[in-house]
Amino acid sequence: MIKLTHRHRALMVVTGLSLAFTALACRLVDLQIFRHAALSREAASNREQVIHRQGRRGEIRDCNGNMLANSQSVRIIAADPSITTSNAPAIARQLAPWLKMDEASLTTRLTGSGKYVRLKLKVDEDTVTQIKALKIKGLVFEDQFLRTYPNGPLASHVIGFVDNDHKGVQGIEAGLDKYLTGVAGYEVIERDRKGREIRANRDEEIGPRDGYNVVLTVDQVIQHIAEVELEKAMEEFHPQAGVIIVSRPKTGEILAMSSRPTFDPNNPGGFSADARRNRCVSDVAEPGSTFKIVVCSGALNDGLVTLADRFDCEHGAWSFAGRILHDSHPYGVLSVEEILFHSSNIGAAKIGVTKLGAARLYDYIRAYGFGHKTGIDLPGEVSGIAHPLAKWNPLSISRIPMGHEIAATPLQMMMAMNAIANGGHLMKPVIVKSVVDENNTTVAKFQSQEVRQPITLRASILMATALRRVASPEGTAPKAAVKGYDVAGKTGTAEKIENGQYVKKYYSSFIGYLPAADPEISILVSLDNPVGGAYYGGSVAGPVFRGVAEKVTQYLAIPPQFADPDEKKVAKL
């Protein structure tokens, strides 16, 4: 036996310890150097989590800052069935009244082998607080945005709506989607063993940016007036469809744009595609007599006629190129002014045929913007139909002056009338005023823009002189007259075409502006196939125009030009 001295024992201990430490060191080198990347990834995945946060979609506001659309934070309530299965009936009993769901279906969802099942979408924050207070294990609460439209169907065609992914589908929601959509952010967080975030260990944080707010030129009060008057007209005349546009002639700003049938953007799926269509920009029709403003203003502008020049209106029937053209009432010799306020088809055709000529008429059609999109910030706009001169037939020169063989959107007609109202300047329609951020700092400004000047100031004044008499007792639209105000306008009654044939159905319209000398507002009313006898623009659309104009002038405090005699009598009494 070797007798171990204390030196030997010490050597053995030191050797043992050295071996142990060497083994540990090797293990450490292996973990920290050779397997470092893989292990650190695994550790991070256990500890860290990347949370994506979606920016809130911007608001849509009217010109006075009233909210027309906004995004609210709501929650998705989900469950982990691997936790809830054992107690599913009891949990379902607790949740059913809050989620407004029946217990049986909830129990079915809460039972299973999966890890995630959605119970309800779009749950408001208050309900979530109440459910959280129940302290039910296995429930998951996720954030979601819900697009809401506080005014329901008001201006629905202008505002549009979004899809389930919060992407704009129609109207301003689609047209200005790039401004409205927020930018997503993310956070890299660490959680403790209870699943709570350790805030101090948050590594990266890039906050989301909310979408910009879009301010429209639309005024919700004027929009409401237009909607109410259009609704009344729909009840009275039962047309298939109807539109009203209210605008400022000098700037081209749209104050209201209403279409019927309509829909509620809070539930767009509950309405047909036909109801969701903005007829002001996407429907074309032959404008009828309202188009006479183009041929008459063109001839006046070129100095080919004066308001006093007279044309034989052939007592209601004029044969041209082998076809007979009729007037609704037989007229003899009429001046240009009378042709306008009596709305003589033969008179307008004769101005086109004998004075203006096809080439100049076509020039004016293009100059007024027909056959081109107006460029309004609304998707789905169509350009209308204005056939090139080469495709005109021998009859065209007599038919186009009275608004046949041409198709325009209501907005195009409105802009053409605005050009006459404002001294001859064709304006680009403006429906978006500005884009602002959350601090109301302007990000983008949409200013009114002149497209071109189709007629001179002199020609526009001459046109206004004639158009003032349309709403007089001798004109075609005495019912469009507004007490105290000087109204200028033009009626239109166009036959509809079905299967390539004119049928006894009509588009009845009236486009007018006031005060005629210095226009503040212009209004277009168009009803598609009114039933019940009356169908002339003056008798159907005229009263609707007056209803809108009376209320809008009152709301905008537009001073009257002359005192109303009836009101004076009341005042004296």
Binding site: M67, Q72, N151
Partner: protein, 135 residues
């Protein structure tokens, strides 16, 4: 040897140095832990405030939407009808329009005001005449 050890053990300075070193290391350790703890507590506080802020913002947007609904002309008109208040927009004859000072105001009212204004502008000339009289 033993006497040497005794002498060394009695050196107060060494003991004190060791103690101070230990205390300093302990203090640094405790301070570090305390600071870490404070950081986590502060983190928790920030998290709570963030949650409150987020909830408040959510509530704010919800209330803003409610307010917009309550301010909408559709709702106000319905409420007026329900309450039978008989409210209606004022007619033109019930409206008095006041002109703001400007060219239109001047054109309408200035000629009537001018004579009085003219008299007032003559007044400053009086002292001059007085001075002449005193001579």
């Amino acid at each position: 040897m033993r006497s040497n050890r005794k002498r060394e053990s009695l050196r107060f300075g060494n003991v004190a140095k060791s103690l101070i070193t230990c205390l300093a290391i302990s203090a640094i350790g405790v301070g570090y832990v305390w600071q870490k703890n404070q950081i986590y507590r502060l983190g928790d506080e920030i998290k709570k405030r963030e949650t409150t802020l987020s909830a408040t913002e959510k509530r704010n947007t919800m209330l803003a939407a409610q307010l917009a609904q309550l301010k909408s002309p559709v709702y106000l008109e319905a409420r007026c009808q329900q309450a039978n208040l008989g409210l209606a927009a004022p007619k033109e004859t019930q409206t008095i329009r006041l002109l703001e000072p400007g060219p239109e105001w001047d054109a309408r009212f200035l000629p009537a005001v001018q004579p009085a204004a003219a008299q007032k502008t003559v007044k400053p000339a009086r002292p001059a005449t007085k001075v002449v009289a005193s001579r």
